[in-house]
Subunit: 441 residues, 2 copies
């Protein structure tokens, strides 16, 4: 079997296939495994997770692998009071009631089967309405609408509230176990981090596959299938197999050339699932000065270029790390600025959150996943407004010998490491289910 | 210079470059020129235009070329009374007032500069609202909302009303000169057809370029640029030049590999401009029997799988041709049916429009542009909801030596043959403007 992509989903698929006795080759475009995770180290050992970084409760699949490979986690830093920036002022919590709106969304989400959002009783109305438009009516005032739109479409999907349909948001809320679980640090999706960065888990998965299984630096550009099998082409290699698991996001899967061409509906899906757009910037300081003020460094902002910050310090390092996230239209606007203007805009936003010392970082470290040709955005892909009903049923439907993985195809914790693993294991099971007709090559 | 794509936009770009004295190579993936046009002939000479087929008033660029190359047009058939299918009943015109809603949209469209829709005073509100949601409030009743949504998002953009933002619709209305101009047969965008099909104009443009200029069967898969020039790769050819005009839709331009990779914002645009989804089916009868009943064969339907029909007969042929269009979610649903079930659904819809004789065609002829790997949808690409404001400014912005054409980048008659020509000529002018630094290679 061949797996395209050595992110968590591709590695999980390959491991499941291997355990079932199949021969597996994993072809990865980058020079490393792990997909949308990347860790950089400062000389003093400070760990900067530039991509995906958290695991939390109920993410049983990723937790099981962390345990199996004997890896260590540490709790995300959260000492003190969070900050809410609201209409230009700082608060410890939103000054308007946001809980009622979140509760309503969570109740709606109960009506969405994450394996078939298109079948929800209210799917038509939810698929045609943007989160921005819904909040404009459901929230008690414009600032609350803006705050919640940025927190939900931005914080969860790295998109503008105008780009996300209610159906996509409700699917995501359901998939991750509700807004409280998704938004929380301790007790939620941002609870824990991996010692050494999440890449250590990807490395462990790759090591478990054994030598010569994963080939890096091998972007797949063509997949040819016929009655006898599938042929996968990289720039300088041709691999044949009984089936292939494509474990990259639909936006990238659509850039591979297929022969025969993908059916209209599957290609239509690939055209309608853009990756999120996030700017994630680490500002590094001599120390986490905000803790002395009783602030946690965790902030959510109703205005300005930055939507969220977290204290991203690591045990064993004295440095303070404040990580800022900008999403959707704000991220796009930042990308249009010159590097100095962009840095200034980001630091001004941090000053507004934790005070003037934020304006004098030792370093500012960033990685732009939207510029990376083998990712093209983060956190994940989301179906465009109006696309779930028409194209959603294609998300996991195999096309002959081509099976689809990637966290976008998960039903539980879609968009997260845990969902990536679920998706890879599900795609592997599909392949194994059809091995009556296929050799376990 | 190199041009990618020998549709009308690429051919127009190449001609403009050649007239300015530049050497030009056009690389085309298909085995023919013309892009989204294709004509099939029945043995008796009946002309079936399977793709783009109409030209109309104010489409001055395409009309000038028709005149220059001495080609003939004929008026679209429209004898008798049109049919409106509305809540299961037939009318000669909508039984509810639709004109007021169209007039309001046209007035709004006056506030949209087609060269910069993102700068409209109400751009934010219009970009976050879908046509479906807007109509649900603006139309006097649900049937009118459905009818207008299908006619506008469907008939103009081959999309579901839930997939199209108000800003996208208003841009399109403005670009084409208003709803009356866009929707009308005589006096509007569907007024005339080309004798021999629109492909004869593409052939004339290709002939004017001279021999050995257009290479067919040459899909471009990589574009490499550096300070000295650009290198364009097909499967078996490497062409170098001073600049390249990419004259394919963004959804397809995004599938080419670029080195250096495209900037995040341009790639983000390519991820957010899916092609429309239309099923266009020609039912051929011994004669245009509907004319005997005083019906024109032109229909618009508020319900059912078919949104529109036209009498697509050609002078000199006695056959009756009824062409049915299905769009968006209805087209997707048709694609999920088995071929016999799909044929039955389509013919049932035609029977509802022009009577039982429609159920007994001699032939049913179809071409699925969404399944064609070098088109992947029609009529054109449309920016997804919420994407115009953030990504619209990238639509025509060159990336180094790479310039963008294709009807999606036009400001006047975007989505039409005329817009394709405008876009090609504009991209060629950009290239020529920068030839101080470039050789006219």
């Amino acid at each position: 079997m061949v797996v395209v992509g050595a992110g968590f989903s591709g590695l999980a698929a390959a491991l499941a296939l291997k355990r079932a006795g199949a021969g597996v080759r994993v072809l990865e475009a980058r020079d490393r495994v792990g997909g949308r995770v990347l860790t950089r180290w400062l000389p003093d050992g400070t760990q900067l997770d530039l991509g995906a970084q958290w695991i939390g409760p109920t993410q049983d699949r990723v937790r099981a692998l962390v345990t199996r490979y004997g890896l260590a986690t540490f709790p995300s830093a959260a000492h003190g009071t969070p900050t809410v920036l609201w209409d230009g002022r700082r608060y410890a919590e939103p000054p308007a009631p946001t809980g009622a709106v979140l509760a309503l969304l969570d109740a709606y989400a109960q009506g969405v089967d994450p394996a078939a959002p298109w079948a929800a009783a209210r799917a038509e109305a939810w698929d045609r309405r943007t989160v921005a438009d819904w909040l404009a009516r459901a929230a008690p005032d414009p600032v609350t609408a803006r705050y919640l739109g940025r927190q939900l479409a931005g914080g969860l999907l790295a998109a503008a509230p105008a780009e996300i349909s209610m159906l996509q948001l409700l699917f995501y809320l359901r998939s991750g176990g509700g807004s409280a679980m998704l938004l929380a640090m301790a007790g939620g999706a941002q609870q824990d981090r991996l010692v050494g960065g999440p890449g250590v888990l990807a490395d462990a998965l790759a090591a478990a596959l054994g030598p010569d299984t994963v080939r890096c630096g091998a972007p797949v550009h063509a997949i040819v299938q016929d009655r006898t099998g599938v042929t996968v082409r990289t720039d300088d290699e041709v691999v044949t197999a009984g089936a292939v698991v494509v474990a990259v996001a639909p936006a990238l899967a659509g850039r591979i050339r297929y022969d025969p061409p993908l059916p209209a509906l599957r290609d239509g899906l690939n055209q309608r699932m853009p990756m999120g757009s996030a700017v994630k910037v680490h500002a590094v300081y001599p120390e986490p000065f905000w803790r002395a003020d009783g602030r946690s460094g965790v902030a959510t902002c109703a205005d300005g270029p930055v939507t969220e910050t977290v204290d991203n310090g690591t045990p064993g390092s004295a440095r303070g790390v404040l990580t800022a996230f900008s999403y959707g239209a704000e991220a796009t606007a930042l990308r249009r600025l010159s590097p100095p203007a962009r840095r200034e805009a980001l630091l001004d936003a941090l000053v507004a959150i934790v005070g003037p010392a934020a304006g004098r970082p030792d370093e500012v470290v960033e990685y732009d996943w939207s510029a990376d040709p083998w990712t093209r955005g983060c956190f994940c892909g989301a179906l465009t407004v109006g696309a779930w009903r028409a194209y959603g049923p294609e998300l996991r439907r195999p096309v002959g010998r081509v099976h689809w993985a990637g966290t976008e195809t998960a039903t539980r914790w879609a968009g997260y490491l845990d969902g990536a693993i679920e998706a890879g294991e599900r795609a592997a099971a599909e392949v194994l289910d059809t091995t009556d007709q296929l050799s376990l090559k």
